[in-house]
Subunit: 243 residues, 2 copies
């Protein structure tokens, strides 16, 4: 039985993604603080679709060409030349419903484009905001799975690995998992699950500190709550739409 | 006070080493299963010194030039053309005392040469076999520290991260640690410390399975025991010697 199951791997950093065969896999882009939380939230609140772009320049250019919201951050703050940032709390239904969002972020949208370049068979995005939607989708997959953490400028981070671990914990029976990184993620998640905010705070998580310095405590708390925006964003023809 | 402490980072894979500034750091090469366990053991048992080389061909060539033991593995087994493998249990006092060991391994010696190429200020090697020697050395450092895991062909592994975590747990008061990877390692270690063999077995660690398939259970148990070969190997002028 075991070898008929598809495989599941966790890539802890974009700099490790090349180790896994994306061409045969559904790649789950994970950027908990905050890109993939924002993506789920905007779509949940009725955005028509999201165009993830890998540079601020492209974001600005698209903003000139089509009627859309241009948004993004670099180093955790609204990028120069853009009107909106990467806080999921900005994307209320009142603000985003029926609109197109063009988004660029330091790590998450960059990783999505790396996965594209590697010929990923399918790309979805995940974060605690849509934990159940993502795990339900995965357990019905026949593709192999790569849980791809966006990390922070290629450095492994706690929050993305926690979410990878939450997924492993929910879907592990359905996959063959010969991947130490996935087991490490699961162990970390089980340790933290009862109080994730407390866990990342007590572990002095680097991106937690960065965002706290900018006054984003509410964002962090939102991004660690399960299923607040429980839709499945899937990437097709340059756009993230609800599956 | 806090900012006067040197920094400590954990690189979970050779593919992440470039993210850290080796030129300002003491780099601890970590390859628990089994290179750095073997290095500690051979030196503890009286080897004159060890020449780590990054290819089987160089190992064979040195074997022709000097009176030495040539040893190494590829993919967990003795490499073709070499006389000895990478099992620490081979390097008894009777066998290795007074001799020079030339060693090449899939991950550990390769990583040591990467650290050299990156201009590491100082290189030492660590594993559970010399946990106390390494941690005592580190707490007296003024250099920054990089705990560099050898991993398995760049894929993060459990056992190297466990040892990094054991070091973090012992030395953390002496360093400024803004590094999620170090906190993840520490969490993993604290979870596993009471029964490391059981932990890596139950987590289906990939390299555990590889070595078990080759009949190396004794090696694994040896490599997870603290302080069985408690010397500090330091790299100078092409050689690993006891500090």
């Amino acid at each position: 039985m075991a070898d008929t199951k598809p495989s599941l791997h966790t890539s802890m950093s974009p700099a490790l993604l090349h180790l896994y065969d994306a061409a045969q896999a559904t790649v789950v882009i994970i950027d908990v603080l905050r890109a993939t939380s924002t993506i789920a939230t905007a779509l949940y609140n009725g955005a028509r679709y999201i165009i993830p772009v890998d540079s601020v320049a492209k974001c600005i250019e698209l903003g000139r060409q089509i009627n859309c919201i241009t948004a993004g951050e670099r180093d955790g703050r609204i990028a120069e030349g853009l009107l909106h940032g990467n806080s999921p709390l900005e994307y209320t239904r009142e603000f985003i419903e029926g609109k197109i969002l063009v988004l660029t972020t330091t790590n998450g949208t960059r990783l999505l484009h790396m996965a594209l370049d590697k010929g990923a068979r399918e790309i979805i995005t995940g974060s605690f905001a849509n934990l159940t939607a993502v795990s339900n989708y995965l357990i019905n997959q026949t593709n192999n799975i790569i849980l791809a953490c966006a990390a922070w400028k290629d450095r492994v981070n706690i929050e993305d690995l926690l979410f990878a671990g939450a997924l492993v914990e929910r879907v592990k029976e359905h996959f063959s998992i010969s991947c130490d990184a996935s087991h490490i993620a699961q162990t970390l998640y089980k340790k933290a699950a009862h109080d994730m905010y407390g866990f990342i705070k007590s572990n002095n998580a680097s991106h937690y500190n960065r965002l706290m310095n900018y006054g984003f405590e509410k964002d962090i708390r939102y991004c660690l709550e399960p299923d607040l925006a429980n839709v499945l964003p899937i990437y097709e023809n340059g756009k993230l739409c609800v599956y």
